[in-house]
Amino acid sequence: MLPLLGRKLLTLLLFIPLLFLLGFFFAKTHPDNNVPTPQNPVPIGDSLEFPVYLQDLLAGEMGSVGTAPVTEIVTEGIKNSAILLGLTMLITFAVGPLLGFVSVSRRTRRIRPVALTITTAGQSLPGFFLGVAILALMLYGIFTFSQGQTPLPISGFGVDEHLILPVLVLATGPLLQVTRVTANMLEDELQKDYVRVAQSKGLSWNRLLFRHALPNIIAAVFLTLGRSTRWLISGLIVVESLFLWPGIGRIFAFSVGIRLDGRAPLDFYLHPELLTVLVVIFGIGLLLADTVTSVLAYWSDPRLNRPAEA
């Protein structure tokens, strides 16, 4: 366990400067940052010097976008996104394995065809398509019930019913991924001889699942959860842009010039300090998620310990 944790944290420490450099030089050398404009005769890219930037950063000076300091924008964004991500991951982890258990048939000890089709279909559903369908339904709701407002809020921020639609769209993919992996692993596990022995001993189905099969597959579930974070971050960009959630994904979308309503992306566009910080944050988030889930996997499955420490 400890060697694993140490190695993961070392990786984290190694990658942060790397991501930092990547973000900075991306912004510095981006073609759009190196075109002189009437307002700025010296392009931003040329005016950026890495040592100066580093000095500012070490002095705690992160620059600002317009009048708002970068630190503030990013902290706010992280906070808002963390609410969305936290809830999504919680639901994924709580509901995913349960659905996985349900999707294995008790009689055949295999995945139910319906369950497999549904999980595969759900995983194939692009997040934005689901989002668009829901938005269309909500808009249709306005016209049908003529209440003047949608049944559920379709945009904006709020720790209330505003969360429902974004979390729904964000969670569908990872949730069904966890379901599918749980079901697949369970199917494999239930074909093994010890299950037959356990059944012939007269063990109940629930005891068989939770006492015998679950401990063998839980590590894989943790690891899948870790892998789905990569997916979640992609989803975050789409979902936050679609539902106008003021989180870090939308800030990133702005900073690379993406706005779904087609307007100009404002001062955020290719802002060097902002971009660097965002890249580092995404990297830290992914690596932390990987670390936590790997540690959980190792903790839950003693079999994994041996090759790692050998």
Partner: protein, 333 residues
């Protein structure tokens, strides 16, 4: 195949295979199925002496079964034309990703030791960057006007990592098996060990991996398109400004491609809501086909079976292979 007394029909392979085959067929012959020009606009048409103006709703007028977009281009035609370029981009990206991942993973797993650590570091770095974030950044950096090249580079640079990771773990696991030690002991050459013991266990996993990767890449292309990043630039057309005399220039997708057809979402959901819906459904169907095919292939290609001969009985039976792509316990530390 009967196992534990319960027969299982491999329907994911059938469904996935059928959908994928249909899409490949459409990619090849799609443009010939329609006599309309995907680029030609029909802003106003005279039907039975009456003038109608675009956009046309699905089924509203003859000749536009799925309706038209805001300047009167037939959606069915555009979807039929759009499948081919999307599929081609996906194929190229997957080929580059799989090639790179396979090569790197195989060599890392084969040599082990310090080289493996080195490659692991690489994989870790690639996995630490969210794929959509990297793709957007890279494509805007390279420039959309470079077309296909920008997409292949952006989607491949970090995309190989998962394949490499999986192949590396598999190879490592095989290399640590007792029979490899045995093969060394009886004096087998490395060449022979590779071709006789390692590769035969890796090949069967590949088709399922390709199918899953294709699904992932098509999804990514669609997401990029939705966010306004698509292959080739758009075209501009002018519409009369309702508020003032004169015209407004609007940029929209030119040569059809599925990702492109999904772009410019806010304008479409109000003016032509059926366009994002129909195209989104097409994309969904395509991804679903690939995923089902991958699932079916995974079930079908059982590496532990001695015979890999194709037979109908085997296609429709559910065998469970040992390696589970992206789902095994191959933790890399």
């Amino acid at each position: 195949m009967r196992r534990n007394g319960v027969a299982e029909f491999n329907y994911p392979l059938l469904i996935g295979g059928l959908i994928t085959a249909a899409f490949i067929l459409l990619a090849i012959i799609g443009p010939f199925l329609t006599d309309q020009d995907p680029m030609a606009d029909n802003r106003t048409m005279r039907i039975d002496g009456e003038w109608v103006t675009a956009p046309f709703r699905p089924g509203e007028i003859e000749g536009f079964p799925l309706g038209s977009d805001e300047i009167g281009r037939d959606i069915l035609t555009r979807i039929l034309w759009g499948i081919r370029p999307t599929l081609m981009v996906a194929l190229v990206v997957v080929a580059v990703r799989m090639g790179g991942g396979l090569l790197l993973g195989l060599t890392a797993g084969w040599y082990g030791g310090r080289f493996e650590r080195f490659v692991e570091g690489f994989i870790g770095a690639a996995l630490a960057i969210p794929i959509l974030v990297f793709a957007i950044a890279a494509i805007t950096y390279i420039g959309l006007e470079r077309g296909l090249m920008a997409f292949v580079v952006a989607l491949s640079i970090t995309g190989w990592a998962e394949t490499a990771n999986f192949v590396k773990d598999r190879t490592r696991a095989i290399m640590q098996a007792p029979y490899i030690e045995g093969a060394h002991a009886v004096g087998q050459r490395p060449n022979r060990i590779l071709t006789r013991y390692v590769l035969p266990q890796l090949w069967p996993v590949l088709p399922a991996m390709v199918a899953f990767e294709l699904a992932a890449v098509v999804l990514l292309i669609a997401e990029l398109g939705f966010l306004g990043i698509f292959i080739g630039g758009g075209v501009q057309f002018d519409v009369p400004d309702p508020l003032s005399p004169g015209v407004i220039l609007i940029r929209t997708s030119g040569q059809p491609e599925l990702g492109q057809l999904l772009s410019d979402f806010w304008a479409k959901i109000i003016q032509t809501p059926w366009v994002p819906f129909l195209v989104g459904f097409t994309v969904f169907l395509q991804i679903f086909g690939f995923n089902m095919l991958g699932e079916g292939l995974r079930r079908y290609l059982d590496v532990t079976r001695p015979s890999t001969r194709l037979s109908l009985a085997r296609i429709f039976s559910g065998n469970k292979p040992e390696p589970v792509y992206g789902e095994g316990l191959g933790v890399h530390t």
